[in-house]
Subunit: 231 residues, 2 copies
């Protein structure tokens, strides 16, 4: 189960994410009052799609996946989050519900901030509000790219895109350990697990990547980018 905690004061937190750097000291103190820390084990749910949107979370350690569930049990992973990213969602100020689920991919901790306190800050601190908008918009731009990839490219291009996403944006290395399952790779690429496995195998046979159950190594970044381009 998730474990509660409240360690260092926000004021002295060196994990302070970009957004919170725009707060005044007394505003930091203000959110510190309602904030609490939660520790999650691998696989545990932080936010549940459809559930009440009562808090914003800030991942302080570990890693989590954000995904949309559908009735048929076919999930779509929108993105992976790393420290110290803020986790909110489009339910903010709309219907106060979560429109995606978030699950810890490994032992993780997150700070939970009351949504009302957060709203208060958006309303009182203009710079904070503008940065918040900036972050939402950046997310939307990424979403556009993902949407074009998933709807207009075929499987090789889509798998190339998720490999590039993982190496460029998440693990920041062409060689990485991961505990994404094959199903997760498939859910990132909008295809079945079997198809994902087949494409990965092809890439391996072509000498583009090397991998085993839990680690990947991109050997030929250039052809991978070319495959991403040609779709």
């Amino acid at each position: 189960m998730a474990i509660f905690n409240k360690s260092t004061h926000c004021l002295y937190c060196n994990l302070k994410m970009n957004l919170f750097r725009f707060l005044e000291d007394d505003q930091i103190k203000f959110i510190n009052k309602t904030r609490y820390e939660v520790r999650f084990h691998k696989g545990e749910i932080m936010f549940k799609q459809g559930g009440p949107f009562t808090h914003i979370a800030c991942l302080t350690s570990g890693m989590a996946k954000i995904y949309i569930e559908d009735p048929e049990k076919k999930n779509l992973i929108l993105k992976i989050v790393k420290p110290t990213e803020i986790i909110g969602g489009p339910g903010f100020n709309v219907d106060s519900r979560h429109h995606f689920s978030v699950a810890a991919m490994e032992e993780s901790t997150a700070c939970f901030i009351d949504i009302n306190a957060f709203t208060e800050l958006v309303k009182t601190n203009t710079t904070f509000a503008m940065e918040f908008i900036k972050q939402i918009n950046t997310t939307t731009i990424n979403l556009y790219n993902k949407m074009m990839s998933l709807t207009h490219k075929q499987m090789h291009g889509r798998i190339a895109d998720t490999l590039l996403y993982l190496s460029d944006s998440i693990y920041e290395s062409t060689e990485f350990e991961t505990n994404l399952s094959r199903q997760d790779v498939a859910d990132l690429s909008a295809m079945t697990k079997e198809s994902a496995i087949r494409i990965l195998k092809e890439f391996k046979e072509d000498g583009i990547i090397e991998f085993n159950t839990s680690s990947f190594h991109i050997l030929n970044l250039e052809t991978l980018r070319k495959i991403s381009k040609t779709g």
Copy 2:
């Protein structure tokens, strides 16, 4: 070509969209100063993807389509806009560029508001800012739904979804004239024109819809919704 104009003062504009209802009179006057009206003919481009994001537009008459272009010339139509919807985009406060194109689907007029003036309002009027965020988030929620439809449903489900979108949200009737081409219907559904035509024909043969070149009539809304659900 687009025609410039500046008719009634914003203060007395009865087309004022939701967002602008939260402005004070002097703020309305403020944006009225920099605003101008543009008239577009069918097919003309209002915003061009990649181009500079210097203005926010508010569609005051007509209809327009918002779409993402890709290098291979395969477009994805994100949504149709009607009066008096605001047309901005995720480039706001990020890179000041457009991340989609907008084209008039028929004779249309739009008010263009300088982005700096708009930004000023977001910064000074908290209610306005919150409503702006609300609108962005609502758009994102719709985007999630579209994304799930396009990536997880097969063609029948996707065509059903665009038909339902058109009748529920755009034309607000099960019977409507449109000047969306077959290619547009395909671009709304992420498939080829030929496939779209084939599915539409099937639906006609099954007595679910009736249509000719430029008009559609949904005869059996229930089965259409069922097809949307089952994918």
